[in-house]
Amino acid sequence: MPVIKDAVCSLCGSLCDDITVTVEDNKITKIENACILGHSKFVGMFEHDRIEKPMIRKEGELVPVSYEEAIEAASKILVNSRRTLSYGWCSTSCEAISKAIQLAEETGSLIDSTANVCHGPSALAAQEKGAPGASLGEIKNRADVIVFWGCNPVHAHPRHMSRYSSFSKGFFSTKGRKSRKMVVIDVRKTDTAKLADKYVEIEQGSDLLLITALRSAVNGHEDVIPETVAGISKEEVLELAETLKNAQFSCIFFGMGVTQSRSKYKNGDGVSSLISDLNQHSKAVMIGMRGHYNVTGFGQVATWETGFPMAIDFARGFPYYNPGETGANDVLVREEADAAIISAADAGAHFPQKAVRHLAKIPVIQIDPYANPTTELADVVIPAAVVGIEAEGTAYRMDAIPLRMKKLIDTEFKTDEQIAKDLIAKVRELKEGA
């Protein structure tokens, strides 16, 4: 029975590439080194609610059809639309993302990724101040101070701390956890916070106040810091600033607690400035804790193919970018989109009610291996192979390191890449016909 070593886990942005997979008659029967999330993806998939056939909604019910019929129906929706939203493309390969972008370009659509409800503000922050980062191995080998701000790796990135950060041993950090001070900043005592040497509980939504106070402290302006900031005493702020200044190498990992809270991207912007200030005293970097395993890849591919990482509007034939106007939720909440194609992501589950209600009103094409809330809204459903298990391809880790995902088992299902190619071909055919 084939045992595949060093497989890449295609679940979260940690993209662990040391997974050992045992395959018996085209089923994954055993998986080693994976966390609970990876295990559910690789072994659990054989119990999961797989979309078995392409489907089209008729009289309110989804009825099975052939791939050809589904592709044709989907293409008609795209050709007849004046403002299609193409959303998702983050639990898939860069090769598929590239084709999705070409499809959006050829149909004058708007394309956005799950960053829209995740680390989109981190991109806006980088566009204000840049993103001073490092590959995760730099943290593993050097970091003596690690801050988790508004993120909860114990739940969202279970192997992060053992492979890359708190617990990992490295060249200069020979004692692993003992070599490092771990600080957690959050609004509630998470399971990650319970592991910290120092837990700082801030008032929800006041991140920018604390970041600014830390900058003032690091830059020698203690005098402007009031007695309490963000619910934290000045003394504690100064102590935290000292910890960071006196580090040999510090890293601030930040999550959606930072990107989704009040003052949104200005939080990441502030962290970036704090990192720059800290480098006057010591070495410091920042890394966003990315969720979907290839949301980073979407940003990379979209940036080299269109100049922008997300929220790209091709209406005028060239890429236009303005989150707040061209983001997935922007055009749904404003009820602008007259059709949607949703792939390798689940807007039905992860968008606010108002956006979901608009999706329910317009023709929706879903491309996904599994049934989910978006399926309940979809008018055309196209089942896809599971990338990273049934199809190979490229994915980018949260630190922008590209890895090659392996094909582990065979499948009858088409890949996202192939489906996007089929749609491009059919759309061209329909346009020429018209």
Binding site: R83, S109, K266, S273, A315, Y321
Partner: protein, 252 residues
């Protein structure tokens, strides 16, 4: 004098992009010519006449041309984009980017305005008799300079990020503003008669006056006595210290 009246035929959801509708472009044009002007609607272009009833009186230069919008143009973007002269009056709510990059002339809006009102404006005047949304007079993504000149008056409230990256000009808000007005601004003057939250983050230069309540003043400002403006005395704050800023934040 040339008067052009554009009445929206029926309300739309997909925005119309009216960047070609400026006094500069309409001056001297006939009803038929104006109806034929192409505007973007979703991923295609249509003649302006498909959406608007066009009435034209007289024919004159841009400075002597006035465009009046009637009806709910809350889904018409980029009205007055880059205009250099003349006047636009909007009787209703207007969509995003109204007056973007305008160099001269005047826009009067009798209604509310969506985001990016007058952003990267260089000259001229915008008067909003209603509420504004996000990024009034700011710069687009990645730009280090937003509004450079001209004046925006908001007789109402504005939401977050008012005057981000402002380098010059004047913004007056008679009501309240939301989060983070005057972020990273590097010149210009912002007067807020109502309340504001976290004002003037990373201000390098410029003046911000807040006559109402300030919530969450950022811990990067030095209090520096008082300052008298038009007979009113304010607490004076200087900063943002983390931006090596020489900005002046005046608070009641």
């Amino acid at each position: 004098m040339q008067a052009v009246k554009l009445s929206l035929k029926k309300a739309n959801k997909i925005p119309i992009e009216a960047d070609t509708v400026t006094p500069d472009n309409l001056a001297g044009k006939t009803k038929e010519e104006i109806e034929a002007i192409p505007v973007w609607y979703g991923n295609g272009q249509c003649p302006l006449g498909d959406f608007f009833t066009v009435e034209v009186e007289g024919s004159d230069s841009a400075e002597n041309t006035k465009i009046v919008f009637e009806g709910d143009v809350s889904r018409v973007k980029r009205i007055g984009q880059g205009m250099s002269a003349g006047e636009i009056e909007i009787n209703g709510n207007v969509d995003m980017h109204c007056g973007f990059g305008m160099k001269g002339g005047k826009i009067v809006i009798n209604g509310d305005a969506d985001s990016w009102l007058g952003c990267e404006m260089k000259g001229g005047e915008i008067i909003l008799n209603g509420n504004a949304t996000y990024y009034v007079g700011s710069g687009y993504r990645g730009e280090s300079c937003g509004m450079r000149g001209g004046k925006i008056t908001i007789n109402g409230n504005a939401k977050d990020y008012l005057g981000e990256h402002m380098c010059g000009g004047e913004i007056l808000v008679t009501g309240n503003v939301g989060l983070l007005p005057a972020i990273s601004n590097n010149g210009g003057t912002i007067v807020i008669e109502g309340n504001a939250t976290m004002p003037a983050s990373e201000m390098k230069n410029g003046t911000v006056i807040i006559k109402g309540e300030v919530s969450d003043l950022l811990p990067s400002y030095k209090e520096d006595g008082t300052e008298e403006v038009e007979g009113v005395s304010y607490r004076k704050f200087v900063g943002d210290v983390n931006a090596g800023g020489k900005g002046m934040l005046l608070v009641k």
